[in-house]
Amino acid sequence: MSALFAANSLGEFLAKRLGESWGFGLAAFIHAFILINVFALAPLIFIWLERKVSGRIQDRLGPTRVGGRFGWLQGLADGGKLIQKEDLVPAAADSMLFRMAPYIACIAAFGTFMLLPFSGGWVAVASDIGLFLLVAILSLEVLGIILAGYSSGSKWSLFGGMREAAQMVSYEIPLAITALVPIVTVGSLNLVEIAEMQTSQYFLDGWLMFNNPFTFIAFFVYFTVATAGCKRAPFDLAEAESELVGGFHTEYSGMRWSYFFMAEYAAMFVVSGLASILFLGGWNTGIGFIDESLAIARYRGVLETGIYIPSFLANLVGMVVFVTKASLLVFVQIWIRWTLPRLRIDQVMMTCLKYLIPISCVLFLGATLWPIGLLKFTQRSTVFSEPIQNRIERMKDDAQSEHDDAKKSREDADSSVSGANEERPAVELAPAVASAPLGSEGSR
């Protein structure tokens, strides 16, 4: 199935020539290689963007010379400089933890890339609980920061690490709750399915952000919390250079220092990508007829074996759309950083505990009650919100065609519409769904 990035067309292609073991192994290796390069390249671009945008906001030019125009090779020059620097470990530091901390942060940030779908079929691990797993892995990044702060043997670092711990422990709660608001609507934690369900019919109507007022507000709350979660200004209390020298990375130099920033910018991309999948339609353009034709091309690719060019192109377009959305959100994060002043630590905590958590709880509750309210006050026939209802309808259709052997191949295409792994529940569920009066049951 298309769900597994590493085992898609390339794997089948190589398996024919090299045998299954070597073919799939090599394909997995190639895809992992591509993924780790995306992980390394994204921060490079965003660091350049940060410099350029901050320069423009402060009425400067930013980098202009490296690489000809626009200083577009500045990131590479920075990297070259950082590699050459001496790798210092302070005498007061706990050297083992001090050395390990950047790797933990980096590995956690890279781990999330495995679960982030770039397009319909382009995802390393399309887990059924993708969102949960992604948030779980993303929350490990803070561990690296705390260990760095603790093991540096410096009071600035310790303060930075402690602030980071307090901030992250608090901000993870609204992050998880606001991420659940669109989940209530779509009824799936599989990131591929969530994005595929947001195919618009007319213009932007499929995007979950515009599904109901609660998801609309949840997007902004999520984005605020995610910005804080990446310890970006105005919530960057962990590094706060005006108070704490450099915060948790005061004692770091060279490559280990840069690993923290790779992790930070990669995490920015991941949370922005997650925002675009959860609220902004993922790789769907939002324009009805384009979305539909692209979706059809993608699903055709699932049926074909080997390399199928239209599906590949559709996935490529999807990836461009997705990366554009995520990068625009990263740009907004950069814009916010250079516009707003840094909050004080107690204000940061107050923003979270007194405002964001109650707001997110209300949004979550509202999103759960919204379909029931619609059922009560409008002419809707079901308690389930639209994407779930469509999915149940599709399960029904699948069951119908299941009985019809002649349409066997068409049924495969339909069931794969809502993601890769639909078939088993569809078959078990369908007779019951067909017989159950959904609306009347749901209204109690």
Binding site: G11, I146, I345
Partner: protein
Amino acid sequence: MTGEQFSEQFFFWLLALTTCGGAIAVVVSQNIVRMAFWLVVALGSVAAIYFMLHADFVGATQLMIYVGGTVVLLIFGVMLTASGPYVKIKTSPGDMVIAGGVGVLVLFLLIGTVTAVDWKQAHVSLTGSDPDDYPPEPAAGYNTSTPSSGNTARPIGLKLLGVSLEDTDPDRKDAKNLSTGYLLPFEIVSVHLLVVLIGAGYLARAKRRAGANTDVESTT
């Protein structure tokens, strides 16, 4: 041994060794934060073993609760309470002997439990397969959809939404129609727990007079 079996064995032994190595290092090291680090290694490897078994929900919960939650709280607690730079814990030899004895006893208990299970009988009764077919043949080729589907969490998620697979199974006598599910009650309970946690934090914090140096309290 096919390539698939080899890679499975390889990753299993790699993860098993890091789990055990991490666990031993937790016991041996004397610095609490290093212990926490080794705990991350051990628990993370256990989570990875869960992923290998396609139990991705259990694995993710392991990461979320133990690695991301408990260990962070542990380090946080050490950072807040430590009087010196690096807290050392010296274990007295007597404690080591007692703990070692208890550990060995638990090991024997576990080995006894594992070897006491009739795996063949369990396999036959669970899967309903022919006893002569044990051990089962591994499926030929790469089943690439299985690791990605991991279908372990889907019934739980559908149930929360009110789509209950076993209740609607027509083969069962007590089959029911779809219900509205447990999402709202579950949500209310979890928000209550959150409120209780924040309230406990509020009650437990050091009391200060209003206006007196409030910006210090969060960082000390």
